[in-house]
């Protein structure tokens, strides 16, 4: 690529990034780079169509392809969009519990082949797709088999799950049995003042865990107070 085209791409990228930030606001959750010349815009799942509309209507963007990745607890869908010589990615995270995302065939009719293929291989449903028939896999597999879909699993091994879950729930890794509480009373030990008896301290830990991305990394559902797998 020549210096002139690199510079043109950089200008183009700046304009596109500004448009996405302006239109999507808090629905644009992260900006990163897959490589020096490949910007990635992560958007909320519900704002996928809106993000692609900004690119298609405002910049005549073309869809090159959609890639899907099974991360264990979530799917990552990446829409590779070309605006002249610039290729950029729109990324959405699809929780495995839902396994559903809006079809973009309404604005990009050519997306249908990629969406049907991903549905076949990962069992991700594309809501509003114009043709939902199986594409490359046998029809009878549709509801029962998806060759590239992994079981729901995360970075926490099965033997570590009780420890990690308990640490997130109570800030301490072991529950205190009633027999121990009785022994503590008999020994006249003072009341426990750790996170075990301080819900506000556990809440603080959750905020810290969220801030450093731990909850996301281990697949912890703060609302349900347990691991998602």
């Amino acid at each position: 690529m020549t210096t002139t085209s690199t510079s043109k791409n950089a200008d183009q990228e700046t304009v596109i990034a500004e448009a996405l930030r302006r239109e999507l606001k808090e629905n644009l959750v992260n900006e990163s780079r897959m490589s020096p010349d490949r910007p990635v815009f992560e958007v909320r799942k519900d704002a996928l169509t809106q993000a692609l509309k900004v690119l298609v209507d405002g910049f005549d963007a073309r869809l090159c392809t959609i890639t899907a990745l099974d991360n264990g607890v979530d799917f990552e869908l990446i829409y590779h969009m070309a605006v002249k010589a610039l290729v950029l990615n729109i990324k959405v995270i699809v929780p495995k519990e839902d396994s559903e995302v809006a079809s973009v065939t309404g604005i990009i009719p050519g997306a249908i082949s990629a969406e049907r293929e991903i549905w076949d291989l990962f069992q991700i449903k594309f809501q509003g797709i114009t043709d939902s028939r199986a594409y490359i896999a046998p029809y009878e597999w549709r509801e029962v088999k998806a060759p590239l879909r992994k079981p729901m699993s995360g970075v926490v091994g099965s033997y570590q799950k009780p420890t990690v879950e308990r640490m997130m729930q109570a800030g301490q890794v072991f529950p205190i049995p009633s027999t121990i509480m009785k022994q503590r009373d008999e020994l006249k030990l003072p009341p426990i003042v750790s996170t075990t008896t301080r819900p506000e301290a556990v809440e603080e830990l959750h905020k810290i865990a969220h801030e450093v991305g731990f909850d996301k990394k281990i697949g912890y559902d703060t609302g349900k107070n347990k691991l998602r797998y």
Partner: protein, 298 residues
């Protein structure tokens, strides 16, 4: 007697949830030497230096820093009775000083909850408090002669060797042995003293941890003729006590003698040495054959 001193006590997860006798013994011992143990409001798990640190260093550091910062706000040194907690808090304190990137990350996380990172937190293992702050001679002076018939196998535990410099690594284990000596108990030599109890391996492979680590260590201790094992860490304590039960029940490994060997924490040994009654610290709450120790008390 030295002027009264206070320490911010970091009990960790194991002691308060499983070993009330260790907490009771520690409070009784510190009080006997005019030291006030103060509880730390809202502390969490250290967190553990095996599972959590491997999962994500940022959270591990932020949680440890939060614990250190609460104690620092109390304007007291933090004292831990657990080698694992000591390892985490020691390492976290060093990481905050040396790793700018992780420090910034922790600072940002702290800002989200309105906290500030600790600037110069004091941290001590209970072994250091006993040997240095109270003093070996003072323990010796106040100890009764009750433990003269007790033969003890010391197990310092791996993380007690944690130090800034290589030449300092033996300091705390040496203090540990000196404390045992000051109580009047006899420390016996055995081949695998430096060998790990196997506790960290439990989270990955229990059978290996029990059969290849603990059973070998116990066999060596039994051959030395020790009446009990003394540890500086509640996790090692759990491994020795529950591990023996599991070896017998789950893996049909019958240890020498059949009855097993009791395990106590160093603060419990000091408490007994000072003449504190076993029932006053709830020693019978242990799961091992603790009667082996009680019957040897003079």
């Amino acid at each position: 007697m030295e002027p009264q001193k206070e320490y911010a006590m970091f009990w960790g997860c194991w002691i308060q949830a499983r070993q009330p006798s260790v907490e009771a013994a520690c409070r009784a011992v510190l009080n006997r030497f005019g030291i006030q143990p103060r509880d730390i409001e809202g502390v969490s798990c250290c967190p553990d230096p095996v599972v959590t640190e491997r999962l994500q260093r940022e959270l591990w550091l932020a949680m440890a820093a939060r614990n250190l910062s609460i104690a620092e706000n109390m304007k007291m040194d933090m004292v831990t009775l657990c080698n694992g907690c000591y390892e985490t808090l020691f390492e976290a304190r060093d990481t905050l000083r040396r790793n700018e990137q992780l420090r910034e990350r922790a600072e940002k996380a702290f800002a989200s909850v309105g906290r500030r990172l600790p600037s110069n937190p004091g941290l001590r293992h209970i072994v250091e408090v006993l040997a240095k702050d109270i003093g070996i001679k003072e323990i010796e002076r106040l100890s009764t002669n009750r433990l003269k018939n007790l033969k003890v196998a010391v197990h310092p535990g791996c993380h007690l060797y944690r130090a800034h410099r290589r030449e300092e690594a033996r300091e705390k284990p040496k203090m540990f042995e000196e404390i045992v000596g000051a109580t009047g108990a006899t420390s016996v030599q055995y081949d695998l003293m430096r060998f790990c109890c196997g506790y960290p391996h439990r989270v990955v492979e229990e059978e290996f941890s029990l059969k290849m680590m603990l059973a070998r260590k116990l066999h060596s201790i039994w051959q030395s003729g020790a009446d009990c094992v003394v540890v500086a860490c509640p996790a090692c304590n759990i491994q020795f006590e529950f591990g023996q039960l599991e070896l017998r029940r789950k893996y049909q490994v019958e240890l020498d003698g059949g009855v097993g060997i009791p395990t106590i924490h160093i603060v419990e040994l000091v408490a007994l040495g000072l003449g504190i009654k076993p029932e006053d610290i709830g020693l019978r709450a242990h799961r091992g054959p603790i009667q082996n120790i009680i019957s040897k008390l003079g």
